[in-house]
């Protein structure tokens, strides 16, 4: 069935520490985490989600809005999203959001999505590599009162009010058809995210939140002050919107640490417990003796 209308998508993304590439230096001698040693990156599966949203837009037209919640530095992933083709980006940043578990996070994101115009699809990565919980997507869907399609690998067909999606699991696939609007969590095997476009990189490199203006003023002394810079950027849609709790229609008791039912009772840094090991020589005799011992102890044989 041919479609006859554009689709509006929201993509939820997160800036995360690159936990997949931890090196020894990340742990201090005391066994605590040296967070500064971790580079902050665009959560990998969120890039797959953005790619899927962009490809839907290329297919039927429409728009892609990218939302992230985080500290002000998270504006970096929003610029990355602009370089890749996002039409609009919004940073949710407020001390009141800090310390949120998935319940409080999904509530905040839900309230931000409510503030946007109508949408057809919400995309997010299956999970973020810093927590690996995979909970925020389904929880946003529940709070929005829309269906969820987890483990989405491909959008097979879009119709006026339905979408056909292939879901991928370790041990198989499932083809589903779902009424719109709905939320998709996207797996890493879905696609190869496009790199930042060189043209858009030039176009959007000045995109900034207001708190980044002082830094920009140093780079561009031709602007007299933050106000003239702000007017220039806003005129070119290069201002990254920042929404605080006051900008949302929220019950503040549901935000941040206070709005999080889960609490961290304790954190143990993993310390290796060394056991007494027997050194075996890498020689024919050494190995033969080892095998004999294992056979005698019924571990082998």
């Amino acid at each position: 069935m041919p479609f006859n209308r554009p689709f509006h998508s929201v993509v939820l993304v997160k800036q995360v520490p690159d936990t997949h590439n931890l090196t020894g230096e990340v742990m201090t001698a005391e066994g605590t985490m040296n967070r500064n040693a971790l580079p902050a990156i665009f959560n990998p599966e969120d890039l797959n989600a953005l790619e899927m949203a962009l490809s839907v837009k290329e297919l039927v037209g429409g728009s892609v809005t990218v939302l992230t919640m985080g500290p002000l530095q998270a504006a970096e992933v929003l610029r990355e999203a602009l370089f890749r083709g996002a039409d609009r980006v919004v940073l949710l940043s407020d001390r009141k959001f800090a310390g949120a578990d998935t319940q409080a996070t999904s509530y905040t994101l839900k309230c931000a999505i409510d503030k946007l115009d109508e949408f057809d699809l919400v995309f997010c990565g299956r999970q973020a590599i810093d927590g690996d919980t995979a909970q925020v997507g389904p929880q946003v869907a529940e709070k929005l009162g829309i269906p969820q399609i987890t483990y989405a690998e491909a959008v097979i067909e879009v119709q006026d009010d339905e979408i056909v999606v292939r879901r991928a699991f370790e041990l198989g696939t499932e083809l589903v058809i779902c009424r719109l609007p709905c939320l998709l969590t996207v797996v890493g095997s879905a696609n190869r995210p496009r790199p930042a476009s060189a043209r858009r990189r030039i176009e959007y490199k000045m995109a900034a939140t207001t708190n980044e203006y002082p830094k920009l003023l140093k780079k561009w002394p031709e602007f007299a002050d933050e106000q003239t810079l702000g007017e220039y950027l806003t005129g070119r849609k290069l201002n990254i919107e920042v929404w605080s709790a006051a900008d949302l229609n929220v019950d503040e008791s549901g935000l941040g640490l206070g709005g999080s039912p889960t609490q961290v009772y304790k954190v143990n840094y993993v310390v290796l417990e060394t056991i007494d090991s027997k050194e075996i020589q890498p020689t024919a005799e050494g190995i033969s003796a080892l095998i004999s011992e294992l056979v005698k102890e019924y571990i082998v044989g």
Binding site: D132, Q139, G172, Q263, Y265, V267, I291, S292, L294, I299
Partner: protein, 340 residues
Amino acid sequence: MTGERNIWVFIEQEEGHIADVSLELLAKGGEIARQLGSEVWAVLCGEQVNELAQRVIWHGADQVLLAEDPQMAVYRTLTYFRVITGLVKQYQPYIFLIGATPIGRDLAPRLASALKVGLTADCTDLQIGDYTSRKENKTYKDLLYQVRPAFGGNIIATIVNPKTRPQMATVREGVMRQNVPDPTRKGRIEKVKTAFEPEDFALRVLSREKREPKVRLKDAPVIVAAGAGVDSLEEFELVRELANALGGEVGASRAAVDAGYISKEHQIGQTGSTVRPRLYIAAGISGAIQHRAGMDQSSKIIAINTDPNAPIFQIAHYKIVGDVAEVLPLLIKSLREKAK
């Protein structure tokens, strides 16, 4: 607070087959229930699954809530969600445990969101204990300690849900042991009514393709696992040969999977399977924490590495400092001789 403090376990079943993790949780649930003086209840949904209810009792359930409906023949988020949220609101369990499988990780967060309760993902251990909130200057008795690795396995976090009930957690497959089924065990089966709203059918499954797992790492008595130190196809063949000679399976660290020697199904560790075989041979595996998290409960560990300071040696029972290309053939040869 309700007086019963029951532990609920979601029984994941597909085509009449119960997921291992659900049985593991029945055993763990039983342990916790004994501590709390309460019961284990199982939530079993599907079409014509009443025969499974008895098995669930043999494995440790005191009561089975049996929701049978043709609309629940195949797992779909919204139909299961509708029925289970209703049951939780009706009976108010103290703890609700769900396997951290693709289905469990789809269902649990949506349930927790609607019930407005805390949920901890991918736990590797559960215990009962007290929690004192310094902010409130108050001690909560007998909470569920939800233990999970975080930050790529570098830290182990213990999470609690002091105020919301049920305390919900998803739990990794393979980290807890099942009970031996006891056919003399008695339990109650309660058939529950199902009722749906039109919006529960917003999603329809058009087709499904399943394939059998090629490897059953979890059940293998012996695993020979390859890491970054195995850096050619020839060396990888040696790993396979040794695994065959031992009647075991081939495992791999993330490095070996990334290098393309073997499929992701064989990966052991934080983002792969959790195993505890009788014998684990780590060939050329340095022993990054993410890997150790998936194998450090093995009964005996043999580690082979050229670096005498490789962290894997700290948990190995047998330490062989040497090149896998030389050591593996010696192991294979020696085994064949002993087998004669």
